[in-house]
Symmetry: C2
Subunit: 226 residues, 2 copies
DNA sequence: CTCGAACGAGAGCACCGCTCTCGTCGGAGT
DNA sequence: ACTCCGACGAGAGCGGTGCTCTCGTTCGAG
C-alpha cells in the first residue's frame, strides 16, 4: 500500500532533522552537536525530536552510517576498474583524503575517537565496509589479471579472518598471509596518514601535504606489489 | 627562597586535581570528563577549581601533555640503544601499543579526534615529540653505524621540514626524501594500526592482534631498510 | 601590623540530554 | 460515517554541565 500522509511527513521530518544535524556536525563537530540546537533549527521543541530519534547517540549513529556511505560512494566513484592497480589504488586513496579534508568533523566522527559509550556495530558495519571493499576489489582484480607474482601460500585462519580474506580477493596463488598483512597495513596506513594530517600531527614535519601523501601512498602500493 | 606554605598547598592541590581528572579520564573518557565531578572527588566546590585551571579545556590540555610524556617515557624505556635497529623499532612499537591498550581513553585523547576547539600546540609539542624522537634516533643510529645503504640523496625542503629532517637523523648519505618519507609513513602507520585496533576497525578482520601487529611493524621496518 | 592578593563557598546563568504530561489530530477498523 | 487508539508537538521540569560573580576569610609580603 502507498505511504499515508502521516508516514510521508514523518519521513520528511526525519530527513530535515538529519540534514540539520549534519550541518551542525560540519560546523561545530560531534562533541558540540546539540540535539536542542538541531530542534531549534527545524523549528521544533527539543522533546519533539525524541519522537524521531530515541537519543542523541542514535542521531549520531545515523550520521555515522551516512558518513560511511558518503565516503564509500566517493571511493567507488574514484575507482576506474580498467586502470592499472597502482593507479586505481592511488585514485581511491586520493578520493578518501579529499573527502576527509572537505568533511573533517565527519571524518573525525568515523575514524577518530569513538564518541558515544558504544557505537552500534551491527548497523554501521555494511556502510563502513564500502571503502575496504573497493580496495579489496583492486587487490582481487590485480591478482586475477596476473599482475601480482605468486606467493608462498601460507594461510593461518587464526591470524586474519575468513571474512577479511574474502574481501581481499579470496583465495588466489598470489595471496598469502604476508600479502594480506601488507594489504591490511596499507588500508590502515591510509587512514593513519589522513588522521595525522587532519589532526595536526604532521604540523612541523610535512610541508607539502599533497606530494607527501602521493609519495606515501605510492610506497604502500609498492609494498603490496602494485 | 623556599616555597611558602601557600605555594606548597597550591602545588599539592593542583596535583590532586590533575590526579582526580586522570582517574576520571581513564574511567569515562575525555568527552564525559566533568570538571564538577573532579571537584567533588577532591572535596571542592566547582568554582574553586577555576582558581587552578582557567577552564575545562586547560585541564584537558594538562592531561594531554602528561599523556604525551607518559607514552614518551614508555617508548624511551623500551628502546635498547645497543640492539639492532630492527629490534629497537619493534620494541618501541610494542611499547607504544602496550601503553595505548592500557590507557585507551588517554590514547584516544592524544591521537583521536581533537576534543576542544583548539589544542594548545605550543605547550604540547615538546611532550608530543618524545616518541618521534625515539624513532628518529633509531633511524639516525642505524645510518651512523652503516646499517643502511646509501640513498640517492635528493632533498627537497618544500616536502619535509628541516625540523623533521633533524629529528630523523639529520643529513646522512643513507637519507634522501624517499627514506624520510618511508620513515614518516612508518611513524604514522604505527598509530594508524593502533588506532584501528583500539577503535574497532579491525573487528572482523584481524583475529590475532598481537601477531598481526608484529608482522605489520616488521613490514614497516623492512620498508625503512631495517 | 597592615593591607592587598589569593582562596573557598555559594548563588546564579544559560545550556544540555532526557522524561513526563497534556491537548490535538490523523487514520484504521467497525 | 463514526469511534477510538496511537502518533504527534508543546510545555514544564529534573538533574547535570561549564562558567561567572560576589562575599567573607586567611595568608604573607611590605
Amino acid at each position: 500500500m502507498p505511504p499515508t500522509a502521516r508516514e510521508r511527513v514523518r519521513a520528511e521530518l526525519t530527513r530535515e532533522i538529519t540534514d540539520a544535524a549534519r550541518r551542525q556536525l560540519a560546523e561545530v563537530g560531534a562533541a558540540a552537536l546539540s540535539l536542542r540546537a538541531v530542534a531549534r533549527e527545524v523549528g521544533m521543541v527539543s522533546s519533539a525530536v525524541y519522537r524521531y530519534f530515541p537519543s542523541r547517540d542514535d542521531l549520531l549513529t545515523r550520521l555515522i552510517i551516512d558518513g560511511y556511505d558518503d565516503v564509500g560512494a566517493a571511493a567507488e566513484a574514484a575507482d576506474a576498474p580498467d586502470a592499472p592497480p597502482r593507479d586505481r589504488w592511488l585514485a581511491v586513496c586520493r578520493a578518501v583524503r579529499a573527502w576527509a579534508r572537505s568533511h573533517p568533523h565527519e571524518y573525525a566522527l568515523l575514524y577518530g575517537s569513538p564518541v558515544p559509550g558504544y557505537r552500534a556495530p551491527q548497523d554501521t558495519v555494511p556502510a563502513a565496509a564500502r571503502v575496504a571493499l573497493v580496495l579489496g576489489r583492486i587487490l582481487g582484480d590485480a591478482a586475477a589479471s596476473g599482475a601480482l607474482p605468486p606467493a608462498g601460500g601460507a594461510r593461518d585462519p587464526a591470524l586474519i579472518s575468513d571474512d577479511a580474506v574474502a574481501v581481499l580477493g579470496g583465495d588466489h596463488p598470489a595471496f598469502d598471509d604476508v600479502v594480506r598483512t601488507r594489504a591490511l597495513l596499507a588500508w590502515s596506513s591510509l587512514y593513519g596518514t589522513i588522521s595525522f594530517e587532519l589532526f595536526g600531527h604532521f604540523v612541523g614535519s610535512v610541508q607539502d601535504g599533497d606530494r607527501y601523501f602521493d609519495r606515501a601512498m605510492s610506497e604502500l602500493a609498492a609494498l603490496i606489489g602494485f
